[in-house]
């Protein structure tokens, strides 16, 4: 499972005291879970935290089982959050993980209940913040969820050692305040490579090897009135105060005094690296981040500790808050604190940076400069800061002068040979050839297939949540003059789509068409196993299938089509859109994720060719003197290996189509040209390596005959 093999990482997870782990931030976090003595780990994969689940899946047999740790790849973030239920009644530590903010949204119901009932054992939620550049999801702050549910939120400084420390502190904090704790980590921090001085892994006292003996019951832990009232009170009277005490006593936040005592910068721990680099570039910090400007690094951003912050604010004239995203909870709480304490300090934040968006260096350096110049630090003259800033930005003029028009954008798309692409080729061809049927509303979904909304397909009118494609067309369908189409991947189907989509549509007797893209994995997260993959993340057989599940909720119109068979797909879609049969029509497009397939096939074929075995490798090509360069094929396909090249014919001005050597021979380009009646330029070549004697003989005869006939 997963995009890579993690043998090396699994080995490092077994390290003990005195050994040094080398790897990415997310691996350090994973290691710290084992060093904290967790009894269970689960989660739903997604960038940037997939690696945690992948590496533990690979470590299950060798490392987790011997320690008695239960591991699962949960069915959804809601299921993962509910896993924390174990820590409500029993003193067991556990961790779950997901991509936020979307995962946190899905998990909200269970999460609120856990946070209300409270936990006995430490419960940690590793939140992969998919925010800013490279994010694939909508942009919101997890901070607000933490606030509403009174869940402490850690946002530590970005070094591997700090990640490990705060995972361990997170469990301590959770147990001190009886609340689950969020541990937030950003994309780049997850992927940052560094080193970690390890400690020994801790064998949990309660585990699959030394299981619980008796159930624990307490009405006070049941989320029903009147106990819910008591729980609410406890949150604010006991749990959050306990959390504040822990944060203070353990020194989770870092106060770094400096000689510029009238100034101060308060920041989220996760923004420390960027902030001190910014100060460094402006001449106000050394490489390690030592600076005359006093800093307050909040590794715990919820709950804030008033006395700690007031201590920092007291005696200062100007304070800058470096806080990413909106609403700006930290800045507002700081201002309120200063106001209540009647401190004469000017607190600023968003106005120096940006009200929204990722705090990238250009933004942070610009904001720091604005703040410092206006606050007039003593140690460094304003001119020196301005000179350094000018040196950083002088080249922008050169670039502007040399760049007459914007450089082309490069939107992401389907991989070479992807089985989902031909389905959208079919939908686009049907839309063009038969608009009365095919030009209809398409409710897209989350997954690799969301790229259908991008060029060249532009198929998909809305994207509304994972597995929510069908549900999101529930009101569109009855209001439309023809049948509408909804799309779902197999990942989305099992995550949410079966219940909220299919069962809901059946229950409400919807008359519409659902296309399920079954590529055998949850590919968008990194080819993770899902219920219909055949085995779970622990490699145990599951025996669940999509058609079975559909029939189980009463769907009778089900057609399964090979996703590469474009004519059949067009025909089936047309049937589904025009049949007199009422109700939900489901078309399952089946084809294995090509990334996963190639990862498996390529090494195998290399070995077989080397061993002298006969291997047939299909590839596609374009005849350069048949292609006229109208590029219709690209508009219905968009395969990365179907590209352009200059026409060998000097009389032709426009570039022609060309299949480059990254082609995996899936045949979609030829099928598209065929189904849309584009041109006769495409051909398939079967390259037969190490052919047998008979094949060679036939080939020689054929070439003799053809050679005699063929003109030069």
């Amino acid at each position: 499972m997963g995009e890579r093999s993690f043998a090396e990482d699994v080995k490092q997870l077994g390290y003990g005291r005195g050994q040094t782990l080398r790897g990415e931030g997310i691996l350090a976090i994973t290691k710290a879970l084992l060093q904290s003595g967790v009894s269970y780990v689960g989660g739903y994969p997604g960038a940037p935290i997939s690696h945690l689940l992948d590496v533990l899946a690979d470590a299950n047999e060798s490392l987790l089982k011997p320690l008695g740790i239960y591991y699962e790849l949960s069915g959804s973030e809601a299921a993962a959050a509910a896993l924390l239920g174990a820590s409500i009644n029993y003193p067991v530590r556990g961790a779950v993980t997901w991509k936020s903010v979307v995962g946190t949204n899905v998990a909200s119901d269970a999460l609120s209940h856990v946070a209300s009932a409270g936990v006995l054992g430490g419960a940690l939620v590793v939140i992969g913040e998919d925010y800013g550049e490279g994010a694939s999801i909508l942009q919101e702050r997890t901070h607000s969820s933490a606030l509403k549910s009174s869940i402490p939120l850690l946002d530590p400084r970005n070094t591997l050692q700090s990640f490990a420390r705060f995972v361990e502190e997170g469990f301590g904090l959770s147990e001190a305040c009886n609340e689950p704790v969020f541990f937030s980590i950003r994309i780049r921090a997850c992927h940052m490579r560094g080193t970690l001085a390890c400690r020994d892994n801790v064998r949990p006292a309660i585990s699959m090897r030394s299981p619980l003996q008796a159930p624990s019951f307490s009405l006070e832990r049941i989320n029903l009135p009147p106990f819910t009232y008591a729980m609410e009170a406890k949150k604010f009277e006991q749990r959050l105060p306990a959390a504040r005490r822990y944060i203070l006593e353990r020194g989770l936040n870092e106060h770094r005094p400096g000689t510029e005592a009238h100034l101060g910068i308060v920041m989220q721990g996760g923004l420390w690296n960027t902030t001190v680099r910014g100060l460094h570039l402006l001449g106000l910090a050394d490489l390690q981040g030592r600076t005359p400007v006093p800093l307050m690094i909040l590794n715990a951003i919820h709950p804030l500790v008033p006395e700690e912050l007031l201590g920092f604010l007291r005696g200062k004239k100007r304070v800058l808050v470096v806080e990413e995203g909106m609403p700006n909870h930290l800045e507002r709480e700081l201002k309120a604190l200063a106001h209540e304490a009647k401190l004469d300090v000017e607190i600023g934040g968003k106005e120096f940076f940006s009200p929204h968006g990722e705090y990238v260096p250009a933004l942070v350096v610009g904001g720091l400069r604005k703040f410092l110049v206006s606050a007039n630090p003593t140690a460094q003259s304003v001119t020196a800061i301005e000179d350094r800033y000018a040196a950083l930005t002088a080249h922008r003029e050169v670039v502007r002068a040399a760049l007459p028009e914007p450089v082309s954008k490069r939107p992401p798309s389907f991989c070479t040979g992807c089985p989902e692409r031909p389905v959208f080729s079919a939908m686009k061809i049907l839309r063009t050839q038969d608009p009365s049927v095919g030009d209809t509303h398409v409710a897209a979904d989350i997954g690799c297939h969301t790229f259908s909304t991008q060029a060249p397909f532009n198929v998909g009118n809305s994207v509304l949540g994972y597995g929510m494609g069908l549900a999101s067309s529930s009101a569109v369908a009855p209001l439309f003059n023809k049948r509408v189409i909804s799309v779902m991947g197999d990942g989305g189907f099992w995550h949410n789509g079966l219940t909220n989509g299919v069962a809901n549509a059946m229950y409400n007797r919807q008359d519409s068409v659902l296309v399920i893209l079954d590529n055998f994995y949850t590919s968008a997260t990194g080819q993770h196993h899902n219920p219909s993959t055949g085995t779970n993340a622990r490699k145990e057989p599951t025996g669940m299938t999509i058609p079975q599940a559909l029939r189980g909720v009463g769907v009778s119109w089900i057609r399964t089509v090979d996703s590469y068979d474009i004519p059949k797909m067009i025909g089936t879609l047309r049937d589904a859109l025009t049949t007199r049969a009422k109700g939900l029509k489901v078309v399952i497009a089946r084809g294995e994720c090509q990334l996963e397939r190639q990862r498996r096939l390529r090494p195998l074929q290399r070995t077989r060719v080397a061993a002298g075995e006969t291997v047939v490798q299909p590839r596609f090509g374009v005849d350069p003197d048949v292609c006229t360069g109208d590029h219709s094929c690209m508009r219905l396909n968009g395969c990365p290996s179907l590209t352009l090249r200059e026409s060998p014919d000097p009389l032709r001005e426009d570039p022609i189509a060309h299949v480059d050597d990254t082609c995996v021979g899936c045949g979609v380009c030829g099928e598209v040209a065929h189904a849309a009646v584009l041109c006769p330029s495409f051909y398939q070549v079967r390259v037969i390596a190490n052919p047998g004697r008979w094949t060679r003989l036939v080939d020689r005869l054929r070439r003799a005959v053809i050679g005699a006939l063929a003109p030069a």
Binding site: A189, M192, T274, G289, L392, P404, T416, D625, L651, A712
Partner: protein
């Protein structure tokens, strides 16, 4: 960042290019050489063919006792090395402000992976290489640029390894060459091939450093500006020479700019049909031949149009011996056996296109009414490397003798004549307008419905040019508006289907002005359209 004790390096890659491996090698090499280094990345969703970036920092002081506050991001204006495995990404990073003349060394491959927007236009929409080249030269402190992809392919290695070598050879990092080699070995993947690529890149960068310092330039670029594998082979050159000899007198009479085109055109026409057909071409070209600008355009498009791709032409192209040789070469088949299957799907027009006009014209007219879009087709997968499959296509190519009287010939030559008449008429008015009218022929391409759609737009454009020209001719104040209008119409169509819709709308609006004799209105319309309004 030499002044602050840090060196920073950014790798902008295209998802699937293996930027991760490249950055891991660098971090590993730095560590092996005793430097504190770290790297990070944002693969995320862009992993699927979008842009991805990888970032590395190392501390130049090997004796440093504590880690710096590593940055997770490159800082615009404070980047030391841009290492790019694709050329457009260099442009995109320059645009984003990461390359500064004061400090950034750019080590990159000049090959291109085209974006979807470059690929989907009907015409040519590739971001101009010269512009990227000029941009890189203007903004990089040092530029080490060459086509690492073609180097890697020629020598049987990987782009990333070649680039790693070039990075090592550029001296932009303090890391020693041996450490890079060790990093490749310690990662243990395809070590031999990667080490080979590394040495090649190292050598190239060192040679560049010894000479001018940069190695970029159109000559160093492959890809689109290089020689494509499908270029005319030696037999064609031989044929070309023979044809050139036969037509020496005609060629000698032409001005240089036109002759250059005609020299390519004549062999193509002889190959397509016969020598008399080539003579017919020359006769048609004659009225324009003396005017170099319009003559060259007509010569070019008349040649491609007169060799329109009917089923016979396709069969010709698919059965040449040189075709199979080309395919073997492209597939690097070596001693492997190859089997070729052609995807052929002629529609009704193309099928009776090869039959005599007199015979099928009535049916064609009926079919046009019956199936205005999407004529019935005859789809087939023909295995042209088998004897029977080859024979089917080969026999089709033998029908060349029927071509001059075919239904398709009748239709194509009729349209060609209308085009030439229009160019001639425009030429009587104004050469610039005539050039634009001649350029409209660029729209006629594709097969089946695509070609019918584009030909209809061509007809619209032709009528538009002439009617607008007519008005300007009456005013006697030049032909700027009709020239600009015709040019704009063509540009829009070549943008792709959305452009086609806008071109049709432009034509409709223009025709209304023409009908009203409103030249000013027409002028405003063209100006607004060119500015992207309306």
């Amino acid at each position: 960042m030499t002044d602050s004790g840090l060196v920073s390096l950014l790798i902008p890659a295209v998802g699937g290019q293996g930027g991760g491996v490249l950055s891991e090698w660098i971090v590993e090499a730095a560590a092996l050489d005793g430097y504190r280094a770290h790297g990070t990345s944002i693969p995320g969703v862009a992993q699927r063919t979008g842009s991805t970036t990888y970032y590395v920092e190392l501390v130049t002081d090997r004796d440093a006792t504590e880690d710096p506050a590593f940055s997770l991001y490159p800082v615009p204006g404070a980047l030391d090395v841009l290492l790019a495995p694709e050329f457009l990404e260099v442009g995109r990073m320059i645009e984003a402000g990461f390359v500064s003349p004061a400090r950034t060394t750019v080590v990159c491959s000049t090959h291109r992976l085209y974006t979807i927007h470059e690929k989907t236009a009907t015409g040519g929409a590739i971001y101009p290489r010269e512009r990227l080249d000029a941009l890189a030269r203007a903004t990089a402190r040092r530029l080490v640029a060459f086509d690492a992809l073609s180097v890697a392919r020629e020598r049987g290695t990987e782009v990333n390894a070649v680039l790693l070598g070039a990075l090592a050879g550029s001296g932009a990092l303090p890391v020693g060459v041996a450490a890079f080699r060790n990093a490749i070995e310690s990662r243990g993947v395809q070590v031999a091939s990667n080490l080979k690529g590394f040495e090649i890149g190292l050598e190239m960068a060192r040679a560049a450093a010894a000479s001018s310092g940069t190695m970029s330039g159109p000559g160093a670029n492959g890809g689109v500006s290089g020689t494509p594998p499908g270029s005319p082979d030696s037999t064609e050159s031989l044929r070309q020479r023979r044809v050139r000899r036969d037509f020496a007198a005609d060629l000698g009479a032409l001005p240089d700019a036109v002759r250059g085109v005609v020299e390519h055109a004549l062999p193509r026409l002889v190959d397509y049909q016969d020598a008399p057909y080539a003579r017919r071409y020359l006769t048609r070209l004659r009225p324009f031949a003396a005017r170099e600008a319009v003559g060259a355009i007509v010569a070019r498009h008349l040649a491609t149009w007169m060799t329109y791709e009917d089923a016979i032409r396709v069969a010709q192209a698919k059965t040449r011996a040189s075709r199979f040789a080309r395919i073997r070469g492209e597939m690097r088949a070596g001693d492997a056996v190859i089997e070729v299957t052609d995807y052929l799907k002629p529609d009704l027009d193309e099928i009776w296109g090869i039959l005599p006009h007199r015979l099928v014209a009535p049916f064609a007219r009926w079919a046009e009414r019956r199936w205005p879009h999407g004529r019935p087709t005859l789809g087939q997968h023909v295995r042209t490397t088998t004897v029977s499959g080859y024979l089917r296509v080969w026999l089709l190519a033998r029908l060349r003798a029927l071509r001059p009287v075919s239904w398709r010939a009748h239709a194509e030559h009729g349209r060609i004549d209308r085009w030439l008449e229009a160019v001639e008429r425009a030429l009587a008015w104004d050469e610039a307008l005539a050039c634009e009218v001649a350029q409209l022929a660029r729209l006629v391409k594709g097969y089946g419905d695509v070609r019918r759609r584009l030909a209809a737009l061509f007809d619209t454009g032709l009528a538009l040019a002439l009617s607008a020209g007519e008005i300007e001719a009456r005013r006697r104040a030049g032909f700027a508006v009709s020239t600009a209008l015709t040019e704009r119409f063509r540009t829009l169509v070549l943008e792709g289907p959305d452009g086609e819709t806008r071109a049709a709308a432009l034509a409709a609006a223009a025709n209304a002005h023409v009908a009203a004799g409103d030249l000013d209105g027409l002028h405003t319309l063209v100006t607004r359209s060119a500015a992207g309004i309306g």
